[in-house]
Amino acid sequence: MSRKVLFYIVRRFLYFAPTILALLILVFFISRVIPADPAALVAGEMATPQQIETLRHYYGFDKPLHIQMVLYFQQLIQGDLGKSLYSGRKVITDLFDRFPATLELTIVSMMISILVGIPLGIVAALKRNSVLDHMLRGLTVSGLAIASFWLGIMLQLSFGMWLGLTPLGARIGVPEPKFVTGLFILDSILTLNGNALLSALKHIALPAITLAFPSFATIMRFTRSGVLDVMQKDFILYERAMGLPPGLIVYKYLLRNAVISTVTQIGLLFGLLLAGAVVIETVFDWPGLGLYAYNSIVLSDYQAILGVTLLAGIAYVAVNLIVDVVLTLIDPRKAEE
């Protein structure tokens, strides 16, 4: 890795740091400054006035704002995100607990979108304006217009209820595999647990496909236009004129240029997936952060939602940073910026 690339990476880190800081401040602002009574919010609907007062004192809401901000950051650094009303445990514990489920779902969805989206995008571009291309483009357009929770329900209805092919919810139907990473699919492979693997796969199928659908549509669309764009370029003409084998042109030269435009989208896609996770987990009863968020909404568990929001924001920024770095490795021109 050249020095220039290294410098670029460091610069990007420095760029994102204030963003995260600002994010934390934004959340502080929304949770402490906007509400009429932050203590009541945190205490929940069932709280008595006395309980609210206790909470107010405990969290320091009775102190002046700037002191509150200091306390807020202190707590954050220590990883203290308060207590969940629902579970009674620390929010941070809850988050760690639910994290693997969402991670697994997100990874599988991302893989589906990429492994299906990129090839289909390339095919659509190479066979431009054919019947296949039109069908695929129809799919792309639908993918961005369908409400994912509705799609999930429809799939649940058809495959789960009417056809009985897939389970209706939850993450696994047999006892969980031994804990290694917390990702059931990985763990069942690592512990050679065939039963668990099968069950895990059956359970993740519908949620992952549903979650993947909008991202897959976006990836396919961008890959297609990326390939079409590159196909027009002078260097492709030159490569053809100089007799490079067509297979080489497509799979080596064209692909890399086209994939670049797709990789820039992956950061965005991750955001889509995160957002989608909330509804998908709700529909499929998937015990991850999304379902946790939903339950917290229903119960007005404010601290929990605050925790989820913070986590989502930080994760999103982190992923974007990683994508940026990866892009630089693929396309060295970026380091020049």
Partner: protein, 326 residues
């Protein structure tokens, strides 16, 4: 040198090429003809849109989508390239017997691969035994030296954006010469470059080519450049070839009315530029017969109905005109 004595390397006959676009069918080449002899530098000149680049792309059979070769033949070393199998063409002709120096050195390199990778890939995939024969880098370094790229050993790892325009064009020249081709098609190789760089590149090209008995089809719209570099010149207009003759004679004693107009449009010492009256015709609805007839001062009679045949008006000098000048 007498045209007849030179063995014909490339003979393009009656080439008809069309493009299907949203606006209609563009009749880009209308029975165009061209001959390049062994070791000859032939210039193909004409205004933009006259079909020069289409001719180049048709010879190599790399037309953009929408482009179709309707009729004609391209004989190269005795074989009709248009009748060849695509695979054959790719492994034995393109990038091997016929190479290209493209117009825009800035965009003709793939930006995300190193220069070395691209050069090697062009050399690798040729001939019957395809696949990864190791390419001897010293041969490449040698050629880079010949095109005056300093310290060639370290350059292969670099990326295209790290080179200047002039250097990139030198690399292009190197890539065109490395496969030891019989014919190099240079498509406006200096148009995208500074005037000062242009002179160097032209000198370099003519020097390299002369030593090796390589034919060059030199495409340009710049008459000055053509006169410096080319032995013979073919003049094209609106998809038709108009005149074909030795460079000095074409410039001193042009016979086709279009060539005359073209030469007169050059800035003269007083700096006056004379426009050729009329407009370049639409290639979707081109004029009948000789396509220059609507703007031709000598046009009469069959000019608007029939396309003139090639007539030898002097030794080695052809014209397609019913009423050649003088």
């Amino acid at each position: 040198m007498d045209q007849n004595l030179k063995e014909a390397l490339l003979v393009v006959t009656k080439l008809i090429v069309q493009f299907h676009t949203d606006r209609g069918v563009v009749k880009a080449l209308d029975g165009a003809e061209l001959r390049v002899g062994k070791g000859e530098v032939v210039g193909l000149i004409g205004e933009s849109g006259c079909g020069k680049t289409t001719m180049a792309r048709s010879i190599l059979r790399v037309l953009p989508s929408g482009g179709r070769i309707i009729n004609g033949a391209v004989f190269f070393k005795g074989r009709d390239l248009l009748a060849m199998e695509e695979r054959d063409l790719n492994t034995s002709v393109r990038g091997k017997m016929i190479t290209l120096i493209p117009q825009d050195p800035f965009n003709s390199f793939n930006p995300v691969f190193s220069v070395g990778t691209q050069i090697k890939d062009i050399l690798k995939w040729k001939g019957e035994a395809k696949a990864n024969r190791g390419i001897d880098e010293t041969i490449i370094w040698d050629m880079l030296g010949q095109v005056q790229i300093p310290s060639p050993e370290g350059q292969l790892k670099k990326y295209p954006y790290q080179f200047s325009g002039g250097q990139r064009q030198r690399l292009m020249i190197a890539m065109a010469l490395l496969p030891s081709p019989d014919l190099v098609i240079a498509d406006e190789p200096t148009t995208a470059l500074d005037v000062t760089v242009e002179a160097q590149i032209l000198r370099l090209m003519t020097g390299l080519v002369r030593g090796r008995e390589i034919s060059v089809l030199f495409i340009t719209h710049d008459l000055g450049v053509a006169s410096e570099v080319c032995e013979r010149i073919v003049v094209m207009y609106a998809g038709q070839d108009m005149e074909d003759g030795p460079a000095e004679i074409l410039f001193s004693d042009p016979r086709h009315p279009y060539t005359i107009e073209l030469l007169e449009s050059l800035p003269n010492p007083e700096g006056k530029i004379r426009d050729i009256p009329g407009e370049v015709p639409s290639l979707i609805h081109p004029p009948e017969g000789c396509r220059f007839h609507p703007r031709c001062p000598s046009a009469r009679g069959s000019c608007s109905r029939q396309r003139p045949e090639r007539v030898e008006v002097a030794l080695g000098h052809w014209t397609r005109c019913f009423h050649p000048v003088r």
